[in-house]
């Protein structure tokens, strides 16, 4: 036991055996859902229903149901789009980037984070489609031979780049998630009966845990992680180009791509933390998602918060250093203009609040961490609102200036997306293993008693 001190603390508490991991992770699926799950699901499904009604109404009536005007042409819809796409980025960070960096703690959270990515991208994708005004023509984004003389899409437009980026991102995230799920579906198949056995069997593609398959599985996982890493950076870079390639003060800036990518990962990590803190409590997974995982995520949040803070300061510095009076005005207006409250909400939630995470005591007080993660979500939503609305509402000619207030339809759509997101996530928690069983088994022995025994056996 002398060498116990130099070993790292175990990733998974409770000295679990392999069978116990399977049992613990699959247990919530075997139980009937409790009152907590049902009430959460019914509330989210209800909110989702309201959102879908609002979407139906605005599609059948027209975009006039929004509070948009000729000056503020983008508002809640694109704010929500960027917000949700950003949420998705943390899932890919955890599943791909941390995989390449060999961060084994990711195994406890990656499944749920990837599911979150998928659901967030679904929520995000809805907004550009309804924003087109005539969503039944959304397929015009695809460059297919058509009867309009084969009028092709404009490949020089960031909006077309965005379409391809979101499409690729969704597809790759979905297959990444599914590939990770494959062995766990086989585990699920072999321990259940009836319709669930049949379904899991169908989707587990006849997986038997053969090492000849595992070897290629690992290669494919590495390939997808290697492709996913530049992909996730490219996606939010391209989203930022929707803004940066315009000439609008406050948007026309080379800092946008890194600023957006860092912000996306920041907001996504906050959402992962929110979901994980709920999931570990309600599904009794405290031993799998423990203080060490929460600590690591808090530190990542702190890092990305620092990058975001640097971006805020750089933007202001560049505006004044540039000597461009329109640029300068955009930032004076942002910080002190009629929408100053949005800017300062953003700064407080994204820069000031996360600083308390420097203290270990705070990181260990989980209710506090939960509140901080919620505040960051709010702050990051406001960041997109600030970028879009405060830049647009007062641009070059004062005669064009206007303001913006959301209509009830937009507020209902905003809420509805959260409803859809949480409904999908709750369904995922019910029917699929929230923790990557096979991956956790592989990381189980890190710093555990098993590893020490093995050391003794070899000596």
């Amino acid at each position: 036991m002398a060498d116990a001190a130099i070993l790292r603390p175990p990733l998974i508490h409770g000295d679990k055996s392999l069978a116990e991991v399977t049992r613990d992770v699959c247990a919530p699926m075997d139980r009937r859902p409790g009152a907590l799950w049902w009430s959460a699901f019914l509330i989210s499904a209800g909110v989702a229903g309201v959102g879908l009604l609002a979407i139906g109404y605005q599609i059948s009536t027209g975009v006039g149901t929004w509070g948009l005007n000729r000056t503020v042409g983008w508002a809640f819809d694109i704010t929500n789009f960027v917000f949700w796409i950003g949420i998705g980025h943390a899932g890919t960070l955890i599943s791909a980037i941390l995989f390449l960096f060999r961060q084994r703690w990711r195994t406890s959270v990656n499944r749920a984070a990837e599911a979150m990515t998928l659901f967030a991208v679904i929520c995000a994708g809805i907004f550009p489609v309804i924003h087109t005004g005539r969503p039944w023509f959304a397929y015009w984004m695809i460059p297919y031979p058509n009867s309009r003389g084969s009028l092709w899409v404009n490949f020089r437009s960031p909006l077309v780049w965005d379409f391809f980026a979101i499409l690729t991102y969704f597809t790759i995230s979905a297959v990444f998630w599914y590939i990770g799920l494959l062995p766990d579906l086989a585990t699920l198949r072999d321990r259940s009966s009836g319709w669930r056995r049949w379904l899991a069997g169908f989707f587990s593609l006849g997986w038997t845990g053969s090492h000849r398959a595992w070897q290629r599985y690992e290669v494919v996982y590495l390939m997808l992680a290697g492709l996913g890493t530049p992909l996730v950076i490219s996606v939010h870079t391209i989203v930022s180009w929707d803004f940066a390639t315009s000439l609008l003060p406050g948007w026309h800036s080379t800092i946008f791509p890194p600023y957006f990518v860092a912000g996306a990962i920041f907001s996504g990590l906050a959402m992962v933390l929110t979901l994980m803190l709920i999931a570990r409590k309600t599904m009794h997974l405290e031993e799998y998602i423990n203080q060490r995982h929460i600590d690591a995520m808090c530190k990542l949040i702190l890092t990305t918060s620092g990058i975001v803070a640097l971006a805020y300061l750089t933007e202001i510095f560049t505006a004044f250093y540039s000597g461009n009076r329109y640029e300068q005005f955009a930032f004076v207006n942002r910080t002190l203009g009629p929408m100053f409250w949005a800017y300062w909400t953003m700064v407080s939630c994204n820069v000031l609040v996360p600083q308390v995470l420097w203290f270990r005591k705070v990181r260990q007080t989980l209710p506090l961490v939960f509140v901080i993660s919620l505040l960051i979500n709010v702050g990051m939503w406001f960041e997109r609102f600030v970028i879009i609305v405060t830049s647009l509402h007062r641009d070059f000619i004062p005669a064009n200036w206007s303001s913006y207030t959301p209509t009830s339809v937009e507020v209902a759509t905003l809420a509805g997306m959260f409803g859809i997101f949480f409904s999908l996530f709750l369904l995922f928690c019910r029917f699929l293993p929230v923790i990557a069983v096979a991956e956790v088994k592989g990381a189980l022995r890190i710093g555990s008693r098993g590893a020490r025994q093995e050391k003794g056996a070899q000596a």
Binding site: T22, I172, R189, S210, H211
Partner: protein, 176 residues
């Protein structure tokens, strides 16, 4: 053609790894090993050659990128050139983002579908497990009793010395 298979069941990764190495040292070919999670070092212990999937992924990615650049060039410069803000027909730098996305899409999908094809995984396939529990907490090492010189008792002793939980013989009709 039926084959006689000799299966050792272990409940520990290290024991299984040592048993696989020992069996290979005695000249037995390992038919397969079934494990609940990917075990590192097992490729080496089984003597598997590295997967060639990365080459296929590289090929598909490259192909997609080349085709996409050509397609963007053809649509914007040849088939129907449209003047967008006075930019040149052939605005190659503007083609980079979509080319990159399409390359990633094709490379990623080719990795996944290539993997399914090579491992013969398809929806609804019936999984035939050598022993129960290999998707939960058991490790199964499968050897083929290739000829009469295969000493079942000696092999059982060998596996038992690595704390095998159970050993058994099976007749396989087809390749597992």
């Amino acid at each position: 053609m039926s084959r006689r298979l000799f299966i050792g069941v272990f409940d520990n990764e290290e024991d299984m790894l040592h048993a696989v190495r020992a069996a290979r040292e005695r000249g037995h070919a390992i038919v397969d090993v079934h494990t609940p999670y990917p075990v590192h070092g097992l490729d080496d212990a089984m003597g598997l050659s590295p997967s060639r999937l990365p080459w296929m992924v590289f090929g598909f990615g490259l192909l997609a990128a080349v085709l996409k650049v050509w397609f963007e060039y053809w649509t914007t410069a040849i088939d129907w050139p449209v003047n967008v803000g006075g930019k040149p027909w052939n605005s190659l730098p503007a083609f980079v983002p979509v080319t990159f996305e399409v390359m990633v899409l094709f490379a990623g999908l080719s990795a996944v579908f290539g993997f399914f094809a090579v491992c013969r995984l398809f929806p609804g396939k019936r999984a035939v497990l050598p022993v129960a529990g290999v998707t939960d907490d058991r490790f199964a090492v499968i050897l083929e009793e290739s000829d009469s010189t295969f000493d079942v008792n000696a092999m059982e002793r060998l596996f038992r010395s690595f704390h095998a939980v159970r050993v058994e013989e099976q007749i396989a009709e087809a390749r597992p």
